[in-house]
């Protein structure tokens, strides 16, 4: 039994279960939207524009007569997709960078960490604008922009934890067993940093959802006609007085998803973070 799976009472982590349930709902909806939505989310029907909720359109229609429920469902898929890919990108680059810097020490690695500070100081929004100027708008640019922003986040979490881990006796023992620094990083440091990374990834996912919404809102993310929560908000802006529902639906979707992921992250941290866990005697 590893520390990761050590049983602990679920009652002690209510936020974990709330967060997990909320996240599961969003993921499920996103998956369903890939194969089925009540209506085609991109189909415009001008005769049906700005309808209120009805049996046919549960959440009504927008100014082009598109089904709001279907758009929100499809938007979930886009949001999660962009966010997942971006976080995976950030981890794939950030974790090895942090590990490398912590294990090596010295000038080169100082430079690597300062470099990541530089990226950190550079807002994802600016990166996204820059990428659009270079390659034109699109979901891929949003992923890369958010992903780049995540590299230093994961590099830092890994670096900090690895620095303290590598002074522990069991790492010295491994060194005395003749293992190379690379092997020690993979065998001891990474598994012990993993819980922290999982927690951080959950939190970064929620930030990624927000960032994706913001980029789409400004037209830097997924392009029409693909539906997205951010652009739904943008479209609804001028119709706030007429149909506030059009802004409320994507807004609540974002709130629900981000809240769910944050609760999940908090719960996971309480459960997994070794610093919060009592030392077992």
């Amino acid at each position: 039994m590893s520390a990761l799976t050590r049983p602990s009472s679920s009652a002690a982590h209510p936020s974990l279960w709330f967060g997990a349930a909320m996240t599961a709902i969003v993921v499920l909806i996103a998956l369903v939207s890939l194969v089925w939505t009540p209506q085609d989310p991109t189909a415009m029907e001008m005769t049906q524009r700005l309808q209120g909720p009805s049996a046919l359109h549960w959440l009504g229609t927008d100014r082009f007569g598109r089904d709001v429920l279907s758009m929100a469902m499809a938007g979930a898929a886009i949001s999660l997709q962009v966010s997942f890919v971006a976080i995976a990108f950030g981890m794939a680059l950030g974790v090895p960078l942090g590990l490398f810097a912590a294990m090596r020490g010295g000038v080169l690695d100082e430079a690597a960490m300062r470099m990541s500070d530089l990226i950190f100081a550079f807002p994802a929004l600016l990166t996204a604008i820059m990428l659009r100027e270079l390659f034109g708008p699109g979901a891929l640019n949003a992923m890369i922009a958010i992903g780049i922003f995540n590299v230093p986040v994961f590099a830092r979490v890994t670096y900090g934890a690895a620095l303290s881990l590598r002074t522990r006796d069991f790492v010295t023992a491994s060194r005395l067993a003749g293992k190379s620094e690379t092997l020690i990083a993979l065998d001891h440091i990474l598994p012990n940093v993993l819980p922290l990374l999982i927690v951080q990834a959950t939190i970064q996912l929620s930030l990624g959802i927000l960032a994706e919404a913001a980029l789409s809102y400004m037209g830097l993310g997924v392009q029409p006609p693909a539906p997205s929560w951010g652009r739904m908000l943008n479209d609804a802006q001028t119709l706030m007085a007429v149909a506030p529902r059009l802004a409320l639906v994507p807004g609540l979707c974002i709130v629900f998803t981000v809240l769910g992921l944050n609760l999940l992250g908090d719960g996971l941290r309480d459960k997994l973070d070794p610093r919060l866990r009592r030392r077992q005697a």
Partner: protein, 534 residues
């Protein structure tokens, strides 16, 4: 007159018994020593007296302090009693002090809180309190990190005695300190209680410390006091088997064959020097600290050598250098006639195959995410030829058996084992590559007394079986006498004295060795002295 009476004190937390009926009396001006191993309930007793037991603890019984039942005292009134009538001294002075406030302000707080003094008056009294604890030349405007461990503990004592309490509770007050500092702090505690007439409840795991301090000794086990008596007659009249076992374990000397005919050394370190430079980008630190300064030593097969010194003496740095963990700035390591350069990977591997280490802290020496079996076999294939999985399992089982653990421990995780079991596993791991030398870095100082005795027996047995050489790093002179043939005394990076352990401890030549010997509590000698007095 009786100052404190604990009458059938019972405390339970979530169904687990913390205290199972503690009866104890402390007279005015008396020093009572409360001894026990971890989990015996000695710290819980102190917390109960202060009415600071963990939340949700249910307790029954009486705590009469000066005739007043503290269990019936309201929290507001308790706040006035704590600090004013009962002073508390903790084990770790660094965490007991607020790092962001000057030590003077922290002592002054007691006066302002309990005696209603204005800041200026409180500071005057603070100065006096610091003088009393022997810190006359330390300005009150210092911060905790600017003081040494011993000085910090003096500050904590000054805070505890600031308002001249009737009772001082000291919970392991010297366990985090070096031997000579421990002796000074114990002297201070003794003189302060004598001079102020306060009673002292001294809580410790160390029977030697308690025997040298207390008027009366109480031994705790499983939330009960199992043996109690005046120190003078205590050791001659122990009836409880546990108290007896605790004493036996405290003075335990494992049966071992002293090295008689020494053969030629197989491991020689010559002129080893290790410098610590302040990191600087542009030029080398002109005055580096000489953590290890021209140290030479030679170890023969099968002998047991002690390396003693206080924290900061360089003994751990030397050990790391001998293990090839840190590079040497000067000097050579010779193993079996071959000069090795730890900077070269091949030499490093060669060194490690023959030189292994057992750590002080059994809690951090195993990766919490790996099984014991996995950790034990880490070296196989790296220091040795590749070994098949079934061979690995066989070797793990054989070594576990040798250190007294069942083979199924191979599949356990460190948190599923006790400290003593982990230390056994750590010893088994060190033996995996059939080393010629095992460096033991305070191998028993984190363990309870009774477990410590069994680990020492185990080490003696294994040495006889494997004819391995031990380099014992310790600050405990009693231990040194029990388990080593020869001792090196280290101070400020240099070896200042060396010789056969018995001679070195009986007739220390160097002033530093003399100070160490004088400061070390020696239980057998103390008990012998007591019994000749009776």
């Amino acid at each position: 007159m009786t100052l404190l009476v604990l009458d059938d004190l019972v405390a339970t937390l979530d169904g687990a018994a913390l205290l199972r009926g503690v009866n104890l009396r402390v007279a005015q001006g008396e020093i009572v020593g409360l001894v026990g191993e971890s989990g015996s309930g000695k710290s819980m007793t102190a917390l109960a007296i202060m009415q600071l037991l963990p939340e949700r603890t249910a307790s029954t019984g009486q705590i009469l302090f000066g005739g007043r039942d503290l269990t019936q005292t309201a929290e507001a009134a308790m706040c006035a009693i704590r600090g004013r009538d009962i002073g508390l001294i903790f084990q770790e002075p660094m965490t007991a002090l607020n790092p962001l406030k000057t030590v003077g302000d922290q002592i002054a707080e007691s006066f302002m809180l309990h005696e209603g003094l204005a800041y200026a008056e409180a500071l005057d009294k603070t100065r006096a309190a610091m003088d009393r604890v022997g810190l006359a030349d330390i300005p009150a405007t210092r911060y905790p990190h600017e003081l040494s461990g011993g000085q910090r503990q003096r500050i904590v004592i000054a805070m505890a005695i600031a308002c001249r309490p009737k009772l001082i509770i000291a919970d392991e007050p010297t366990s985090a300190l070096d031997v000579t500092t421990q002796a000074q702090i114990l002297d201070l505690l003794r003189s302060i209680t004598r001079e102020s007439g306060a009673a002292l409840l001294l809580i410790s795991h160390d029977l030697a410390v308690v025997a040298s301090m207390a008027d009366r000794i109480a031994v705790m086990k499983d939330g009960r006091i199992v043996e109690e008596g005046a120190t003078r007659s205590f050791f001659g009249a122990m009836r409880d088997p546990y108290a007896h076992a605790l004493y036996e374990a405290s003075v335990h000397r494992p049966a071992r064959q002293p090295m008689m005919n020494k053969t030629a050394p197989f491991f020689v370190a010559e002129n080893c020097t290790r410098l610590y430079r302040k990191p600087s980008l542009f030029r080398a630190d002109p005055q580096p600290l000489r953590a290890v300064d021209h140290v030479s030593l030679a170890l023969s097969p099968g002998e047991s050598v002690g390396l003693v010194g206080e924290s900061g003496s360089g003994k751990s740095t030397l050990a790391r250098a001998l293990l090839g963990l840190d590079p040497l700035d000067q000097g050579t390591l010779t193993l079996d006639g071959v000069v090795l350069d730890p900077a070269r990977k091949q030499d490093r591997l060669r060194l490690r195959r023959k030189v292994q280490l057992v750590f002080q802290d059994p809690y951090s020496s195993f990766d919490p995410r790996r099984t014991i079996g996995w950790s034990m076999t880490e070296a196989l294939g790296h220091l040795t030829e590749p070994v098949s999985e079934s061979d690995k399992a066989r070797r793990v089982a054989a070594l576990l058996e040798q250190v007294g653990l069942a083979p199924d421990f191979a599949g356990r995780f460190p948190h599923e084992m006790s400290g003593g079991q982990r230390q056994r596993a750590a010893i088994a791991r060190a033996l995996m590559t059939d080393p010629e030398l095992i460096v033991l870095d305070e191998p028993v100082s984190a363990l309870d007394v009774s477990i410590r005795a069994r680990i020492l027996d185990l080490l003696a047995d294994l040495q006889a079986q494997h004819s391995v050489t031990y380099l014992f790093i310790t600050h405990d002179l009693t231990l040194l006498r029990a388990v080593t043939d020869r001792t090196l005394v280290m101070q400020k990076g240099k070896i200042v004295e060396e010789g056969p352990t018995a001679r070195l401890l009986d007739e220390p030549q160097h002033p530093y060795t003399q100070a160490l010997v004088a400061a070390s509590p020696d239980l057998p000698a103390h008990v012998a002295g007591l019994q000749s007095d009776v």
